[in-house]
Amino acid sequence: MLRVRDLSISIGGQTGFTDIVSSVSFEIGKGEILGLVGESGCGKSMTSLAIMGLLDRAGPWVRTGRVELAGFDVIHSEPYQRVEAGHGGIAMIFQEPMSSLNPVMKIGEQIEEAIAVHQRTPGAKRTLTARELLEMVRIPDAAMQLDAYPHQLSGGMRQRVMIAIALACQPQVLIADEPTTALDVTVQAQILSLLRELCDTLGLSILFITHDLGVVAQLVDRVAVMYAGRVVETATVERIFSAPAHRYTEALLSCLPDAAHRGQRLTTIPGQAARPGQVRQGCTFAPRCRYAVDVCASDAPPDALLPGDHHALCHFPRGVSP
């Protein structure tokens, strides 16, 4: 459904640029949820904005790469350009439901605006469609809420409205950029189950961006782990948790608090994540890796393929004897 190939995003000029996202590749099948996981600043949000075509003109820019949606390359096109070209199919929801809705427009208007663009529905029917969408995202009193302003709704309700707006775009792919980070845990669970349901009933493909491994375990089918601007490991969610191959994924999982080690010090990964352009050769994780040897610092790691479509960018992936 969505294939991202060799996507690099850079800051700086055409010469002397620095990659903040390097050669990112992944794909999402129909009805599949891919979790894009990584620490803050690893480039996951930047990747999603680039796929969506929402990078600021003045900011980071796409240096190389393709984003294929149902066979068409849609990189470099803003959402309205995709709509005009006839492949609108990517919608996005954001981290902050509190600030992601226009404060002076009614909920109904904001949904209908998207319906008008994507569904070519005549004016009178749009209100009805908007109501159906609100019902679909489980907003009680949908008919009444059409006339509500965003400030009259709670955070969870606003995120549902955001999902309704996204669905109004009739997407094949939904990008969800940390959609539950700003919400209460109970509300978070409701939103997650709603997303799972939409994915199953509508055959929606979801790119779910998060730093929360608990959410990943609950929701996603496959995981792409990002570190310092690169996807370092891709595997099914079961493999990621049971048999992580990349040493960064392994270290990340060992940081999860665990009831069996109650009362002990929490594990951390020593050092700090490499900043863009800081590691010029070798593996970006090598400076913090317990298993690093000379070759890790000098040579770029190969793409190691493990059984079950499991990739890891590592010289010495775990579970493979050298």
């Binding site: 309205y80 996005m92 954001f94 226009n102 002076v104 998207a114 302003y149 707006i165």
Partner: protein, 315 residues
């Protein structure tokens, strides 16, 4: 809405009461005597005393204040010492010029300030934006009278397109074409204010453009022009509308200068001359009317703001 409006109106009345005290006592504290202005330097002390008694100016000042207040409550602003005519009529005579001047100026400010601000914001960082912002900065810094003098020099003296001074009423011969007399003054008066509104519109547009909900709007796939007009401008105008209240206050004080430069028979001229003549009733009347107008405009701005922004509770 109703109770909010009532609350605000009550606050406005309180402000007005405070203003009336300040107006009255400050004006009477200005040194100088209207009687000598009226009678000339050669008047004998007896003549002056007789007139003083006749005008009631020999009464204690507090007494004069309450008498004035009681009359004001009845709609009587007193009698002009200089014109020997009711203050209400004196003010009404100058009001036509001033109201028309202010209205035309407000139209210029809105028509120039807001759209040019939007264009500057849309092209922000470009040479066009820098030119517009530069010109706006310049206009905002130059005093009105200087702009007025140059407009007279260029359009009246050199090109001869427009009259340089005076204003015959639109009810007299010439009718609405007499409005051309107000073209240069209104432009001079609009220049610094339109520049401020332009800069505010631009800054406010750029602020709003960074908001998360603008990203949502773009993600929906609506066209950039619609994002700008329906989403960015709509929100940016909230800040601009509240600035119109301040702009009006600026107009009042700048109109005094402009009317003097262009020799317009308006309220601004009248107040300057009345101060020179120590014509207390006229000065008091004008300031009172101005304060009322100012409060009314700000009340209107406040109420419209509440209509524009649903987040502000209407109760």
């Amino acid at each position: 809405m109703g109770s909010y409006a009532m609350h605000r109106t009550a606050a406005a009345v309180a402000t007005l009461a405070a203003a009336s005290v300040i107006i009255f006592f400050f004006i009477h504290a200005i040194p100088g005597d209207p009687l000598y202005v009226l009678l000339g330097d050669s008047a004998t002390p007896d003549q002056v005393d007789a007139l003083r008694t006749r005008l009631g100016l020999d009464q204690p000042i507090v007494f004069q204040y309450f008498q004035w207040l009681a009359n004001v409550a009845r709609g009587d602003l007193g009698t002009s010492i200089f014109f020997q005519a009711p203050v209400t009529r004196v003010i009404r005579d100058g009001a036509e010029t001033s109201i028309l001047l202010a209205s035309i100026t407000m139209i210029w400010i809105t028509l120039i300030g807001v759209p040019v601000g939007v264009i500057a914001a849309m092209r922000h960082g470009s040479w066009l934006d820098q030119c517009l912002s530069g010109v706006a900065m310049l206009l905002a810094s130059i005093p009105t009278f200087w702009v007025g003098l140059y407009l007279i020099l260029i359009f009246a003296a050199w090109l001869g397109w427009l009259p340089s001074s005076g204003y015959p009423s639109i009810f007299e011969q010439g009718g609405l074409t007499n409005l051309r007399y107000l073209l240069l003054p209104s432009l001079a008066l609009a220049a610094p204010n339109a520049a401020l509104i332009l800069r505010l519109t631009r800054a406010s547009m750029l602020d709003v453009a960074r908001e998360d909900y603008i990203r949502t709007a773009r993600a929906k796939g609506i066209r950039p022009m619609r994002v700008i007009l329906r989403h960015i401008l709509r929100n940016a105008l909230l800040a601009v509308v509240s600035a119109f209240g301040f702009t009006f206050a600026a107009l009042i004080s700048e109109a005094v200068v402009t009317e003097t430069v262009f020799a317009l028979p308006g309220i601004g001229q009248l107040v300057v001359q009345s101060i020179l003549r120590r014509d207390y009733p006229v000065i008091q009347g004008i300031i009172l009317v101005t304060v009322v107008l100012y409060l009314a405009v700000n009340l209107l701005v406040d109420l419209s703001y509440r209509l524009l922004d649903p987040r502000v509770e209407l109760s």
